[in-house]
Subunit: 458 residues, 2 copies
């Protein structure tokens, strides 16, 4: 193929040489990506393996689910991010295990990737704690796909209410969010705004006053880990904006038509589960010691006991504070763990021993809605309301990977703020959700041929 | 639900009164949407029915397929567009037929929508002309879903070539586009740029020189309907940019591994079919007279013969020029048809008779790639190269529905132009395309639970 206008010279062959350490990183989330970026100038050959070809900025998934952002605004191709570095190879593959004898990672595609150093950073998945019906009926919110499905479902509920108002009695406009952590609080607040500001206008024939957003939390407070005043502020703000906050209530079961709280069944078709995570199932397949929640036990330098060439970072690792408490499963812990591991690899090359990983809490924050957030900085400084909200916006913009994503998110946020609009309220796969055509009368219409799926196996 | 900060008053009830004409428009494409917008100030009650909840700007689908634009940039919620008008109701439903006796539209959801005036505007679907294997193996390009599938597939082909270079011999990087009309020309040009400018850098280990983009056209020229000089310019430009243009070649069959041209089989996993359309299958279910291609026969005022209360506009209608030729199936014809039908409805209310529809060709254009396009304006003016390309950009920006989409498209185009980047190269459903985890050794990993699909029926 002649590519007359190409501007890129063919890059040099980057096959690993025997002298260079082969570092294999499994997972392109906050931890894995940060580590790859930190190592690009080191004399190592890096392979970053992920089952998706893009990095997802998970803290903003709830905004995709509530039509505030396009999914493309919070995702970026891993190859694009790492394009300019010859010592990084990106591999699209699902890791299913490790051959410890041969020091090789095994993939679902039946490939093997040899390593000198292995860093596991596959994060966490939604945990349903085995509560009956939850896995089958709840919407998780850990990926862009899941966020898009929730968005389409919420819009579909309003379409159903528009077509058949009697469905309001069946809870078609009741949205139950389980889990009072930042994701649950942010989603409940954003759903209320979507309904009250946008869908109310989109669906003038629907009695939107009957829509309910219910936030269910098992403990007696929202935002565990925050101070009492932030927790109370979140509670009051959500309540004042119309969210029914149920503290001290536990889900004991779920079905297609409702959520069972024991003393009460909430009739609903929408249960969003943000109440818990457990380690990525890969952790269970490695033959390594695990804690509750499946997290892999690590030494204080984040290496696996007895395997100094293997590190675990982020949500997958059972790292502990000085007082023995497990590290929170947050982006900041993963990113600091990545920086720590990069330093350990350099120390080893210099013949130095390991140092312990110390997570430094640089602050926690959660947004509740327009002009409302809570921020807590170490040292006791606390912010709330509009100032906290602006801090939240600025920090999340700054943390997005790549100037392009920052620009796109800023642009969409500005539009939403000024116009009270939500640009992204498209139902993807809406046509697929429709029942098959069969009207039982007259000659049947010629069916539209199904669209072929991608034929490739990656 | 209390929505303390809502800014919208509850809109007045807009149930049709007996005195107002009920106009039902089927299809929210260029024709149907334009008609609804044209009628908002008229004393009629409009119901716009579509199977999707958004309008798609089809002329830019090829840019979604080649990672230039996010799908959200070229789609906009129909309810959002028509939100401010009390006499327009949007219905999400698939129309499957018409009960002519009772003057009701029948939907797949088993609803009936009564009408006084019916306007059919469901457009066209891909036609494979019954060529063996094409329907099963070709990628169509008529919806955002289809564009995203093609985008993911192209990226998956490069991932496959990266993981296993021997697949190059099986044509994994050969992309065959069939159809030399504007869509085929635009897609072939954009694919070449995506490969040569972006994927070349993303996949440094892949021998991108062996990638091929093949454009197959059955006649002896590209861009049928354009003048000879524009056709030749498109041919020369595509060739100079590395596209293999095959004129006078017909596809006689397709399989999962190749495209059969009769005298030659091109080994490929990617066949994109832009070679033909036929009327939406709804046309076949109505008991109305049709022409070749399924288009519905209309009188010269675009009404159905013998049914003066039924109009057909856009690609679905077999409207004819003064010299008896069928109107081209283009956005401009659909939009002018909508304006014409709105005028006919006003004339009827004033007791006036019908007037014939006359399509005015305001010009045709096609883009070939960066800084290259052809534009033909009636009267003989022709433009090509960079000037034509700027005209193409400006016109398409202007025609996008809504300021927000214009802003987003302009922003992404500007970024792509300046950076030689393509922002949207994410593989959606990439994980779903991966083969199931089964490595046949050791303890099987605990499978990740499947994500529940939307449970709703719309």
């Amino acid at each position: 193929m002649e590519l007359a206008q190409s501007t890129a010279a063919h890059p040099p062959d980057t096959a690993p040489t025997a002298a260079r350490q082969r570092v294999v990183i499994v997972g392109g989330g906050f931890g894995g990506l940060k580590l790859a970026q930190d190592l690009v100038d080191d004399p190592v050959d890096i392979t970053l393996v992920d089952r998706r070809n893009f990095h997802t900025f998970q803290p903003l998934l709830y905004q995709v689910a509530t039509a505030m952002l396009d999914p493309g605004a919070i995702a970026r191709s891993l190859r694009a991010i790492l394009q300019d570095h010859d010592n990084v190879a990106v591999r699209l593959a699902t890791v299913v295990g490790v051959d410890w004898e041969r020091s090789e990672v095994r993939t679902a595609e039946d490939d093997r990737i040899p390593f000198d150093v292995l860093v596991l950073a596959t994060g966490a998945v939604t945990s349903h704690y085995g509560i009956p019906g939850v896995e089958e009926h709840a919407f998780p919110l850990k990926s862009t796909d899941e966020a898009l499905r929730l968005r389409s479902h919420v819009l579909a509920c309003f379409e159903q209410a528009d077509a058949d108002p009697s469905l309001l009695d069946e809870g078609v406009l009741t949205f139950v969010v389980v889990g009072g952590g930042p994701t649950g609080v942010e989603l409940a607040g954003a759903l209320t705004e979507l309904i009250g500001r946008v869908l109310r206008k989109d669906f003038p024939r629907v009695d939107v006053e009957r829509a309910r957003v219910v936030l269910v939390e098992a403990t007696d407070h929202l935002l565990g880990g925050f101070g009492r005043s932030s927790q109370d502020n979140a509670y009051q703000t959500l309540r004042s904006r119309g969210v029914e906050v149920r503290l001290g209530e536990k889900v004991i079961g779920a079905s297609a038509t409702g959520v069972d709280l024991g003393h009460e069944i909430i009739t609903t078709r929408t249960l969003v589960w943000t109440a818990g995570v457990r380690a990525n199932p890969l952790a269970d397949a490695l033959g390594l010691a695990q804690t509750a929640g499946g997290r892999i036990v690590v030494d204080d330098d984040l290496s696996v006991p007895g395997r100094p060439e293997v590190y675990v970072i982020g949500d997958l690792a059972a790292g502990r504070d000085a007082d023995g408490g497990l590290h929170p499963q947050m982006a900041g812990v993963a990113q600091q763990g990545a920086v720590h591991v990069a330093r350990q690899l350099r120390r080893r090359r210099e013949g130095l021993g390991p140092t312990p990983f110390e997570y430094k809490n640089k602050g926690i924050m959660a947004t509740i809605g327009r002009n409302a957030a809570v921020v807590e900085v170490p040292g006791g400084l606390r912010f709330r309301g509009r100032l906290a909200w602006v801090m939240w916006l600025a920090l999340h913009l700054q943390r997005l990977v790549g100037f392009r994503n920052r620009w796109e998110v800023l642009s969409q946020w500005a539009w939403n703020y000024v116009s009270y609009d939500r640009t992204a309220r498209l139902m993807v796969d809406a046509a697929d959700d429709l029942p098959p055509r069969d009207d039982g009368s007259g000659s049947p219409p010629r069916p539209v041929p199904p669209v072929p799926r991608t034929r490739s196996e990656v």
